[in-house]
Symmetry: C2
Subunit: 151 residues, 2 copies
């Protein structure tokens, strides 16, 4: 199989196949007399393993470890599980961060009129670091009553 076929069969671009070889995630592929990389079915299976790992958000470093364990008959499932749970913990952290950002920004956007006037609590908070005080815009409306489910 040439690199194009292996790429199509695994769902990983040819570019990445070469890169994975370069960083040692994949073993060096065999070569045709003309220098073309040749891939076996086993290679493709490893590539699919890698792609599924990427689909789960795993870093190539963690995938490298998992491939090693996969090929190790004497592995302990505890090692595999530990790697998975480390990644779960990182995902949790990242999700918490992003969620906090989203909630804060969504609340700010919720209190912004979004009309043709320049007044904007989003800019005010970016400027001052403090929540914008309800200003004298139009008829004294405070920053949106409890109705807004933004949070």
């Amino acid at each position: 199989m040439n690199i194009g076929q292996a790429a199509a069969a695994s769902g990983i671009s040819a570019k990445m196949l070469r890169y994975y070889e370069e960083i040692g995630l994949m073993p060096r592929a065999g070569r045709s007399p003309a220098g073309y990389r040749r891939y076996t079915e086993a290679d493709v299976q490893t590539l699919r393993f890698i792609r599924r790992g990427r689909d789960l958000g795993l870093s190539l470093e963690r995938i490298r470890l998992l491939v090693g364990l996969w090929h190790d008959r004497d592995r302990s499932s505890a090692d595999v599980k530990r790697i998975a749970l480390e990644h779960v913990a990182e995902l949790d952290g990242r999700i918490a961060e992003l969620t906090a950002m989203r909630d804060r920004l969504r609340a700010l956007a919720g209190s912004c009129h979004g009309d043709q006037h320049p007044d904007c609590p989003i800019l005010e908070e970016l400027e001052t670091g403090r929540p914008a005080a309800a200003g004298p815009r139009g008829r004294a409306r405070r920053a949106v009553p409890a109705a807004a489910p933004a949070g």
Copy 2:
């Protein structure tokens, strides 16, 4: 103010101050006779604005737009709000992705014994792309590529 003071006052590293200048996010700073960058209080306020934007996860490109609106007396808050909501939408998407990954990986980890045996549904799913069938624990279990009897 030299770059170090501006960095300390804004919470952005000196390295980043130079970078923001290079990409045109900050105007070119004035220079002392010796070539040192000089920063004003107004510069520091802009830098703090930028930092707060970064704290909300905004890209430097979006921050650039927001800084422009901030300095534009004729802005419409609608423009600001639109940018904010675009970012909220991206955060939502990213959060959904990460959450899906986390849930899937957590479920896999939950079904892994995590002991000294090699059997591991995490590796099985990475290998086959299908949830591992609950099988007999111990012996006769091949988890190495080559001859996958998955027919």
